[in-house]
Structures are given as C-alpha cells and as structure tokens.
C-alpha cells in the first residue's frame, strides 16, 4: 500500500517538473529511451570521446587501405565477434562479417 503512495508522489513530482521546465521534460524523454545513460562511473564518456576525436585505425596499413577504399575492407578484425558462428562449412568472403569501424564507443553504448 505504502509503495503505491510513494510511486504516485514521484509521479506527481515528475509531472510538476514537466510543467515547470521543458529541459527536465527533455531529460525524462532521453532517460526513457536510454535508461543506462549517465549511470556509468568514472569521468565523463563525453569528455573522453571529445579528447579522442577522429577515426582510429588498426595500423598504418589499415589507414592506407581505408584511404584507397579497397574492397578488402570486408575482412574481419583480429578481435573475434562474440556471436561468431562456428559453422559447418568453410566461410567464403561473402559469409564473413563486415569489418566494423573502430570508432570510440558510442555515448549511448551500455
């Protein structure tokens, strides 16, 4: 019973905030879409992302290949994907997963 009362008080507070501040309303919207946002500890992900702007390449060979826009970019990276299928046939290049860009983790990643 008391749990219900508390919940409704919180709801009332949120409603009040929505009426009072558009910024808080936007925050609520964001938190609804990305519940894990802002809960990770240790410095700001945003700051770290900002410090390392620019695409990271595996090495200079990788960089030169990317520059030349070769089709060999389809080859996988050294780190294996967790969902890699160990299947029943030898994979051909078309079966291999497309190489992911080595970007800094998205701010929305968990």
């Amino acid at each position: 019973m008391s749990g219900e009362v508390e919940a409704s008080t919180e709801e009332q507070q949120e409603m009040q905030d929505t009426v009072v501040s558009p910024e808080k309303a936007e925050e609520a919207k964001l938190k609804a879409r990305y519940p894990h946002l802002g809960t990770r500890p240790g410095g700001s992900d945003l700051l770290r992302k900002r410090l390392q702007k620019g695409q990271k390449y595996f090495d200079s060979g990788d960089y030169n290949m990317a520059k030349a826009k070769m089709k060999n970019k389809q080859l996988p990276t050294a780190a294996a994907e967790k969902t890699e299928i160990t299947g029943d046939h030898i994979p051909t290049p078309q079966d291999l997963p497309q190489r992911k860009q080595s970007l800094v983790a998205s701010k929305l990643a968990v």
Binding site: S21, E23, K24, E26, E27, R33, L37, Y63
Partner: protein, 476 residues
C-alpha cells in the same frame, strides 16, 4: 542596428565537393578576409578599392590568394588520422608590405607569409642564346698580346654583365610557410591567439595552453617578464613546457576541458580560457610560470533545482572573445551569448538568448549530436553590437545599447545583390504567422558556426557550410 545587404560579390559557385568552411577572419585593417576549410585550404579575399570607374564594385571582396595550408597526416604512434581541417586562422598586424597569418589544424600551426609580386627583373645576359650559362670569365676579358712592334697591346673584350631592369608584370600573390610550430599538442588545438606584443602567441588544446615566440619553432616557452613593469626585454625561461596544464594525473578523474583561449587585446601578460563547464579563468603570466592558479574566475551561479542532464553540456563555452576595448569579454554557450565585465566575476552583465526555443528540443539535439555544435561569436568594431550564428542558416545580431536583436538568413534565395536582408522569425508555438518558420522545420544541418565582423565598418562575413556570404551596411 545597421541594415545589411549582400555585397554584389555573389556567393561563389563552388562545386559540390567544395569544402566546408571552418574558420573566417578579417585582418586588422579589414582589407583582407581569410577563410580556412575542411580540406586544409586557405582562401584570402581582398576588398576592392573604391574607384570612380566602377562605383558599384565598392566593397567587393575578390579572391586574392589560395593555398594549401595543411595536409592530412597519420599519427603512427596512435593510429589516428590527423585531419587537415583548418581550425583557426589569426592574422598578425601588418608591419611591412607582406601579410602574415597563423593557421592551425588539430596538431600543427603554421606562419604564412603572403606577398605580392608585380615586377619582374628582365634583361639578364647571364646565358647564351642557346641557354647555357656563360662562363663568367668570358664575360669580361682582357686579352693581352704582344704585337710585332714589341709593344704590349691590350685588347679589352667586354661583354658587360647587363644590369637587369624591373618590368611590370601581372600581379602575383605568393604564400610561403615561414615557420612551422609542430609537435607541441597531444590533444586537439581549439584556439590560437596573437599577443599584443606581436612577438608571442598562444595555442590551446583540450588540456594545455602553449605560449610560442613567433621566431622560435623548436620549443614553446613559458615566459616570465623581467621584474620591472617594462614589458621588454623578455626573460625567457625553459622552465615548463606549458603555461596552463589541466591534465589530471589520472585521466579517469577528468571532469573539464579547455574549450577556447584568447590573449587580452592590450595587456600582453593577460589571457583567458574557457571550459566545458561554463567557467572562464583569467590568468596573468607575470604571476607564475605555470598559470595553474587563475587570477580571476568567472562563473554564473546556477539554480540547483533547475539542473538537468543537459545543464553541463549546454553550459559548455564554445567561444570566448575580448571586446576591442579590453574591458569586456563575451562567451558563447549552446543557447546564449553572455557579456562579462572583467571586473565582475560572479555573473555576466548581459545575457542574450540566441535560440531559446531549442530548450524543448534538447533530447533530439543530443541524439543527432547538434548539442555539441561549437558556435562562435564576434563583436563589431565599436563593441556596440555582437553577432553569432544559429541553425537553418540563420544568424543573430544584438545591439547592446538599444537591446534590440535581429535574425537574418544567409541563403542564396535571399541574397540578391543590393536587396536588403529581411528579418526572420521563428515561431515557437501556437499559430504560425506568414513568413515565420516553425521550430520543427528548422534545418539543423544548415548551421552557421563561423562569423566575422569587419574591425572598422559594418561589413560582415558569414560562413554557411561551404558558402561564404559577405554583407554590408546599406547606409554606407
């Protein structure tokens, strides 16, 4: 508020691959306007002088010089690409016939000399008709022979070296790099600022500020002035590599980065730097070699009850500019422009809302990264007006005396030569009037991040993505 019209110089017909303009800057006289772009190129425009023959062309800016300032590089140690995009251009005051400017990408700053050549030396006779260099000993020879009369006979064969004559030629503008200041920034350069002593300049990245001497490229200095109040001569000390260093010992403790820095226009020992938390620190280089203790700390108190997830992000200062008088400074954060009196640290003296209607759109602006856009701001020559950009190719001007503001648009449709710019208005809710634009139809890809105001006249340059617009006061 001056009434602005586009200068008859139309926006250039740049092809689709033309690069996004990343910086715009007038020189000290306003005669030259430099732009830097994402492709590492610098284009300098020169104002055409008034002439009775073509009165309609008064005030036009035409291309004066184009050169490739920076090239893309690859940092092998970190496997990171270093963009060639020009982040900032700053002119040096003109001291002789040539013009000098500093251009910076993320890592390297270059000093460029732009000089004119309108004469060519002609009439050299150092080469034969077939192009071979003449033997210098043969050009002037003295032949001595013994005549049959036993008299020395001197024969002077002279093909004198001709003194070349200077002949006029078509004007050629050359840009040459005179200094390259490299390898001093671990993080990305966001600002450069020339000191009022015209001998030093500072460069700032996310965590550190360097002070350079324009003549010396192999290291940057922290500078201590001699004990007396006379600013010259300068005592150089290789004490510390940076004048500001906010890098924490443990990077996980990082909470704040440097976003912009500028030297005071008159006091060569004073500079300011702004942070991602909306604070500004004023430092005096006479106080210490490492300016980690600020002389002044500017911060507007925040109402804790209104704090949200977005508060810190939108308070991050994207630009800081001293007024020409040196008495005020202006900061730009995401939604507003603030004017600070240097003598008052606890709050700004003026606050202008640029696009307050975006406060109810912060969620989507965060998702599309627009909330991190870095808008610049600028003063007019007399410090009576300020200008900054917004979205949808809109830019805003505020008159500090009358408190009036205006929204204008930089677009081809609205830029017929000599037609006055029409004020624009964004409709924030309810019924949309004719000619108003609703917040939801704003184009957030059309952002005006870079604007510049002529130092003396009402002429403004506005960079809208890859187009440069120049407007001037109709009343002139």
């Amino acid at each position: 508020m001056p009434l602005f019209v586009p200068v008859s110089f139309p926006p250039s017909e740049r092809d689709q691959k033309a690069d996004i303009i990343s910086t715009v800057e007038f020189n000290y006289s306003g005669e030259l306007l430099a732009t830097g772009d994402k492709g590492g190129r610098v284009v300098i425009f020169q104002r055409e002088q008034e002439s009775k023959n073509r009165p309609s062309s008064r005030g036009e800016y035409n291309v004066y010089s184009t050169f490739q300032s920076h090239e893309p590089e690859f940092d092998y140690l970190k496997s990171l690409e270093i963009e060639e995009k020009i982040n900032k251009i700053r002119w040096l005051p003109q001291q002789n016939a040539a013009h000098f400017l500093l251009s910076a990408n993320d890592k390297t700053i270059k000093l460029w000399k732009i000089s004119e050549r309108d004469k060519r030396a002609e009439g050299y006779n150092l080469k034969d008709e077939d192009g071979r260099l003449r033997d210098p000993f043969r050009i002037t020879t003295l032949r001595v022979s013994l005549s049959h009369l036993f008299q020395w006979h001197f024969e002077l064969q002279v093909q004198p070296v001709k003194v070349p004559v200077l002949m006029p030629m078509d004007l050629m503008v050359e840009a040459s790099p005179r200094r390259i200041f490299a390898n001093a920034h671990t993080y990305h350069i966001n600002s450069i600022s020339v000191n009022s002593d015209y001998e030093t300049y500072l460069s700032a990245d996310d965590l550190r500020i360097n002070l350079w001497h324009l003549e010396i490229t192999d290291r940057s200095f922290s500078i201590l002035y001699a004990i007396s109040d006379v600013p010259l001569p300068i005592l150089l000390k290789h004490v510390l590599p940076y004048i500001v260093d906010i890098k924490p010992a443990n990077m996980e403790e990082l909470t704040e980065v440097i976003t912009a820095a500028e030297c005071h226009p008159h006091q060569c020992n004073v500079f300011v730097y702004s942070s991602s938390k909306g604070t500004i620190r004023l430092c005096d280089m006479r106080a210490a070699a490492l300016c980690d203790r600020h002389s002044k700390f500017f911060e507007e108190p925040e109402d804790p009850s209104s704090r949200s997830f977005f508060s810190e992000i939108i308070s991050s200062i994207s630009d800081v500019k001293f007024s020409h008088s040196g008495r005020y400074m202006m900061t730009r954060d995401y939604l507003s422009v603030k004017v600070w009196d240097l003598n008052m640290e606890n709050r700004p003296v003026e606050t202008y809302q640029v696009h307050e209607y975006l406060r109810s759109k912060l969620c989507s602006l965060y998702e599309n990264d627009c909330i991190f856009d870095k808008f610049e701001c600028c003063w007019n020559g007399s410090d009576s007006a300020i200008m900054t950009g917004s979205y949808n190719n809109f830019f805003r001007m505020f008159d500090r005396n009358t408190r009036r503001d205006i929204t204008l648009e930089a677009s081809r449709e609205n830029s017929k030569p000599r037609a006055m710019l029409k004020p624009r208005k964004v409709c924030t809710g309810g019924k949309r009037k004719k000619d108003e634009i609703s917040v939801d139809s704003l184009d957030f890809n059309k952002k005006i991040l870079h604007t510049a105001w002529h130092p003396k006249e009402n002429v403004i340059a506005v960079a809208a993505t890859n187009n440069l617009y120049i407007f001037q006061d109709k009343l002139n």
